[in-house]
Point group: C2
Chain length 213, copies 2
């Protein structure tokens, strides 16, 4: 016999609280531990109930959902938390994920969908509404945009030297590592500076990292 999944909800909307309370307290396999209109006492509630899954609204009076997630994750890093929200707002999604939310679904979805999402979250998945997922993927794609290797016309050797600079090496060390003379390294760096339009190690390093070179 499987243990029921223990659930608490934080949401300032009374209708949502009531309908989810009804849903989960009557549904086989769940144990409803209560709904709260705000997250001011979130840590006390966590300590008392030790739920399996936390459902968290984003917009709430007092402490907002994202701060609450951060607080919970700080004390219980493994806690499964699912965001429940009305709209798919880019920035919020991002903040919620960084705070440690493990699922992000839109309230308009059916109750069956929600039941299933909670089960999946509890089993180690991260249910996401497809529109949310799209935004998450776009974020990841942005953050890992491939380096434009050909841009700036850096030669192989120059990229190699630049890489050493990024790793904080001094000319001397680079020369030693690459078995070159100090002046050759110097020469490569001069060329790098011209091509990148910079004129110091600091600029070159920050430029390189930002461009993912």
């Amino acid at each position: 016999m499987k243990e029921p999944i223990k659930i608490v909800l934080f949401d300032d909307n009374a209708r949502i609280r009531d309908s989810l309370a009804l849903l989960f307290s009557t549904h086989e396999g769940f144990e409803w531990q209560g709904a709260y209109r705000d997250a001011t006492e979130v840590m006390d509630i966590m300590d008392i109930y030790n739920p399996d899954v936390v459902l968290m609204d984003i917009d709430m009076p007092g402490i907002n959902g994202i701060e609450a997630v951060r607080a919970i994750k700080k004390r219980y890093p493994e806690q499964v938390i699912m965001m429940l929200t009305t709209f798919d707002d880019n920035d919020r999604i991002f903040d919620a994920i960084c705070a440690g939310a493990m699922g992000y679904i839109i309230k308009s979805k059916s109750l069956a969908y929600l039941i299933n999402a909670v089960k999946e979250a509890h089993e180690g998945g991260s249910p996401m509404s497809p529109s949310v997922a799209r935004k998450v993927l776009q974020l990841l794609q942005q953050k890992n945009a491939p380096a434009d290797k050909e841009a700036f016309h850096l030669t192989d050797r120059e990229r190699e030297v630049l890489n050493h600079l990024v790793n904080g090496k001094a000319y001397k060390m680079i020369a030693a590592d690459m078995k070159l003379s100090y002046d050759t390294v110097h020469s490569h760096i001069k060329n790098i500076y011209k091509k990148l339009h910079v004129n110091s190690v600091g600029e070159a390093v920050s430029f390189a990292i930002r461009q993912k070179l």
Copy 2:
């Protein structure tokens, strides 16, 4: 009357090709444009059929699915592509997303799930199996791990100076920007170096960026 969703599939598994062909060619709202055992002629196929959604296996003889995604995205940046795979392999997920895949679902899911996923992908969502989504979220969380502001005991002023260094500024400019004397900037930087255990601008910058300070 809605246009049917045009679909092509690339998969080296004949059973998958057959069952999906049956599924989508008999299902209302879809137009099956064919299944291919490998992606060697992917670009020709794209040019001819101009599908709405591409279903792509990852493991294929010849050109693998991820390379195929990259090729398609290069010519058709807006193309909707969903990865179809047997296992949820971390690295592959990551590569596929960076290549530009807009959905990632596991073959073990039901056919109804797949139908729905294709619809959602076509409507601008990114259907993902929850286990895949979990890995994506973890990746994002890793990449945006919050800076441990308190770590390294950097003072406010020191962080400010460090930030200028990261932006490639020279001592002089920092002094001007912050309305300090050169020596004060110098002094702050000496303290930063001690605290971060580095001893050059290059090291400090790369350290700071990596630690997201």
